[in-house]
Symmetry: C2
Subunit: 159 residues, 2 copies
């Protein structure tokens, strides 16, 4: 994977990564979206289900890394995370790269790649990079995830 050529990201004011760049200037809304991404990451690493679910809008649609094809609505997403969080690696955080956040009015788009940090170096997830794309909506002054798509590339030569 061409990771070596990628740039480390500035996720905002929260040090969710070990490869932060120098501070950049973001609008208030951009900072809030970046804070939401950091909060969600913290919740996943802490396996804090309630904090994690609070990031999602009621009508959020999730394209998860694994089946089913999609999850529609926060109840389905809640059930998925309740089943998945106990199985997640015990990570100290994530190493994220190439974060892009774009805000226009009450809509925001973000995408980045990440891998888990601080886990056993022999764990398969140590070497696994994930791609995330997310859409956000500001509802009553609060940014929420309305759509999330997480995947790994499918290599047909590796089955």
């Amino acid at each position: 994977m061409p990771i070596g050529s990628l740039n480390p990201i500035d996720i905002g004011d929260i040090a969710m990564t070990s490869t932060l760049t120098a501070p950049q200037t973001h609008t208030h809304d951009e900072k809030q979206v970046r804070q939401l991404i950091a909060d969600q990451t913290s919740a996943i690493c802490a396996k804090n289900l309630e904090q994690l679910i609070a990031c999602y809008a009621k009508d959020a649609v999730l394209f998860d890394m694994k089946p089913p094809l999609q999850l529609q609505g926060v109840e389905a997403i809640h059930q998925m995370w309740a089943a998945c969080l106990p199985c997640m690696p015990n990570a100290s955080g994530t190493e994220a790269q190439d974060l892009s956040v774009t805000v226009s009015g009450d809509l925001a788009l973000a995408h980045w790649i990440f891998r888990f940090a601080g886990i056993d170096s022999a764990h398969p997830a140590t070497q696994m990079w994930f791609r995330v794309t997310a859409g956000y909506r500001k509802h009553q002054g609060q940014w929420q995830i309305v759509h999330e798509h997480c995947s790994i590339p499918f290599d047909p030569t590796r089955g």
Copy 2:
């Protein structure tokens, strides 16, 4: 896959699918984004490389179904499609479902699922549903793809 419970989509004024719903009311920008999605789908099915590449912004970032992890910039995307289009199934179109398009100012977000239509029923791609998430930016009055994420779910139990 829980396809049976999904709703057919209205992709706009172009009949890119065989399961169109009744016409809905969309804003001018929503119609333009839906038209771009239809144009891109047509270009893929027609294997028209130039029409397809014209859909992308110069700085677009693509998370494709297969490796590498990401493609940055339209030149890299051009090279990928030039290599991939000849290998794509000869499809009459696509069957798309659950299209969501949200526009705010010069930013738009869309996501949907689709499979190829009109191909040999024994072809593996006939039964394969893909998830697509895309971000669009209006530049000089023209909507362009700035980000695209296409994947299939990864089932660890199937290798």
